[in-house]
């Protein structure tokens, strides 16, 4: 029983980080029909901004994280939208898919070129301590991951449904033409979505890098898992992406224990196929309509 509890808790801790990346995926799709296949690399990169801040510019950790967040908002938010998505958008979804795949490769290889192919140690925000939870070991890092992810999701939900800007963003996502007629600045709303995605990726990066270590190739597994989590949860619901992320985290760990290590990577994909067959709109997704 302790073993089961340990696996579930560890799964929830990593799953909560997958959820952040998955939510970003969902938001971009809703706002601009963008399937961002560079999402994994978006999570990989900010950790290196932190390392540059600390080791090159001599900043303390918190300052380096703020520096990384600002850099992420500019590069992964504004520049990404302006120079990758906007020129591609009139040509449909497929060119965007191709462009983001290319962007992902470019980001990965650039990090490899400038920061070497070796994994880099990445500092944790909290001291490494372990607490006992009914016999299972829960580290302060795990708790931080869960708490921060949940707070981010709650804050995002509140922003989208409780503020005027958030509701304008929802309107833009549901029906851009009508929203524009009603006076919503849809270009700005789409930009906000890209900025939120960049911020989510940066937070996910800060949380996952102490466990994964900072490495150029980290984006591949994270991107794939986030994509699956977004579909499993329902591509048009933030709550769905959250549930999808947590579910994949737990299922991945349970598979490693009770199925086999070799097949653990396949189990989330099998789950994806089953869900598409049984409930094509995802666990919490709606059969039609778009909403952020």
């Amino acid at each position: 029983m302790t073993e089961f509890l340990q696996v579930v808790l560890s799964g929830l801790a990593t799953g909560s980080i997958y959820a952040l990346a998955a939510i970003g995926f969902t938001l971009l799709w809703q706002a601009s029909q963008t399937i961002n296949f560079a999402q994994g690399e978006f999570v990989m990169l900010p950790a290196f901004f932190v390392l540059i801040g600390m080791h090159v510019l001599g900043m303390p950790l918190i300052a380096a994280m703020i520096f990384a967040l600002i850099l992420s908002l500019i590069l992964l938010g504004v520049i990404f939208k302006k120079f990758v998505i906007e020129p591609m958008l009139p040509h449909g979804t497929l060119p965007i898919v191709m462009a983001t795949i290319a962007l992902g490769i470019l980001m990965k290889e650039t990090v490899k070129e400038f920061y070497s192919a070796e994994a880099q140690p990445y500092p944790s925000l909290v001291a490494d301590r372990t607490l006992d939870f009914f016999g299972a070991a829960v580290s302060t890092q795990d708790i931080l991951n869960l708490v921060v992810s949940m707070l981010v999701v709650v804050a995002l939900q509140f922003f989208l449904s409780g503020t005027r800007t958030g509701r304008s963003m929802q309107a833009t996502a549901q029906n851009p033409q009508v929203a524009e007629i009603l006076g919503v600045n849809i270009k700005r709303m789409v930009l906000y979505t890209f900025l939120i995605n960049a911020a989510l990726a940066a937070v996910a990066s800060f949380l996952i890098s102490p466990i994964y270590l900072a490495k150029f190739s980290n984006g591949e597994p994270i991107g794939l898992v986030a994509f699956i989590a977004a579909i499993v949860g329902g591509f048009n619901q933030i709550r769905g992406a959250l549930v999808g992320g947590l579910l994949i985290g737990v299922v991945d760990n349970l598979a490693a224990i009770y199925v086999s290590a070799q097949y653990r990577a396949a189990v989330p994909l099998i789950l994806l196929i089953v869900i598409i067959l049984v409930r094509p709109q995802g666990l919490l997704g709606k059969a039609e309509g778009r909403a952020v």
């Binding site: 696996v7 560890s10 140690p121 490495k215 760990n253 290590a261 070799q262």
Partner: protein, 379 residues
């Protein structure tokens, strides 16, 4: 004369033309072919600097058989095919003996060229296969991975009194080789394997693996993962409060792992063939001199390069003439005692395959530093 005879004659002529200058030359030409650029540069540069320091000492002490040694450098670029071309170039330029390469994948390819030319080659590679291919001109400077497992097994059984052990290994060629050798040793010694946990290459999340190992009732866990995975594993093991000893190879306790895993690496045990911290004054003195000369700390490859250069000197002087063929023959079955041959640092023996026997060390990570816990006898 049939075609085979023509080939034999041509090969003999080639051999003669290659080895003839060695007899006549005023200096002894030794060529170093190592990874001076590319991903293996750290290993290759360490090896080169160790060898260069040894050659400087040898020349200062009168050279080999009274002749000065000329050391030429060739860059393999960490690439197997380039290393092959460089070995050929070194031989064409009259090398009497070769040093390098460090990468096993390169050595397996380039040692065929040295074999064809009949030139002895001291390698830094540790893949078991290298000495199992019947090449009479290849000699190691440190023993192959297959000789490590019996030493670790003996330590687990005799010193740690372990009766149940768990294995965590990476499911690649490297991992499978180590895993199979370790499991065979355990079976032979009657030590029960209570958990056998493979992981995937570049695996990031070791929570499930550690859960399995923790609940297995093992008295020690043998960890055979690559360096980055070792660091992630050690962090997870620390998190879940694993209290039994974690034992591995250099890949568990190397400096890179210590840097990545931080405090979680403390207490990990690893078997290393050569270390500048070895409790041998000659090794420590060599490491000190190296650091003063090159302004960085020697690793095991630097020590191997140093030993390789001295091995050529001692074997040549034992033969008494500059004859590559005779030096290779002499090295088979040769034992060099550090007392009479100080440059060899630690007593060493080569068998008929070019494999090495020498004592090695069990190292424990304490306060983020490697400390030698035990000396394991030669096997």
């Amino acid at each position: 004369m049939n075609r085979r005879h023509v080939f034999a004659l041509a090969a003999s002529a080639l051999l003669l033309s290659v080895s003839a200058p060695a007899f006549a030359q005023e200096t002894v030409k030794i060529a170093n072919i190592s990874e001076l650029s590319g991903p293996g540069a750290t290993s290759g540069v360490n090896w080169r600097d160790g060898a260069a320091m040894a050659i400087e000492e040898i020349n200062a002490g009168g050279g080999i058989l009274g002749k000065q040694v000329q050391l030429s450098q060739y860059d393999s670029q960490s690439d197997a095919q380039t290393s092959r071309a460089m070995v050929q170039k070194a031989i064409d330029e009259g090398a009497f003996a070769l040093l390098g390469t460090v990468y096993s994948g390169s050595t397996i390819v380039n040692m065929l060229v040295a074999q064809q030319a009949g030139i002895p080659q001291m390698t830094g590679s540790e893949a078991p296969k290298i000495t199992q291919l019947g090449n009479p001109y290849i000699f190691r400077t440190s023993f192959g991975a297959q000789k490590s497992m019996p030493k670790i097994a003996a330590y687990l059984q005799d010193e740690m009194k372990v009766t149940k052990v768990a294995v965590a290994w990476v499911n690649t060629e490297f991992g499978k080789g180590g895993h199979d050798a370790f499991v065979a040793e355990m079976k032979e010694r009657g030590i029960e394997i209570v958990a056998d946990v493979p992981s995937e290459n570049a695996q990031a999340d070791f929570a499930a693996d550690v859960v399995k190992l923790k609940g297995s009732g093992a008295e020690a866990i043998f960890v055979y993962l690559t360096e980055e995975e070792s660091a992630r594993f050690l962090r997870e093991a620390r998190k879940q409060g694993i209290s039994v000893p974690l034992v591995g190879e250099t890949t568990l306790i190397g400096q890179k792992v210590i840097d990545l895993a931080g405090e979680a690496s403390n207490g990990a045990l690893g078997h290393v063939s050569l270390t500048p911290d070895a409790p041998v004054p000659a090794v420590q003195e060599m490491a000190k001199k190296f650091e003063e000369k090159y302004k960085y700390r020697a690793d095991h490859n630097a020590i191997k390069g140093y030993i390789g250069a001295y091995a050529i000197k001692y074997a040549t002087e034992a033969v008494g003439e500059l004859d590559s063929q005779k030096v290779a023959e002499k090295l088979h079955g040769l034992t060099l005692k550090a007392a009479e041959n100080p440059g060899i640092l630690i007593d060493i023996s080569w068998d008929e395959t070019g494999e090495v026997s020498r004592e090695s060390y069990l190292v424990e990570v304490k306060d983020g530093k490697q400390t030698v816990k035990a000396t394991l006898p030669a096997n």
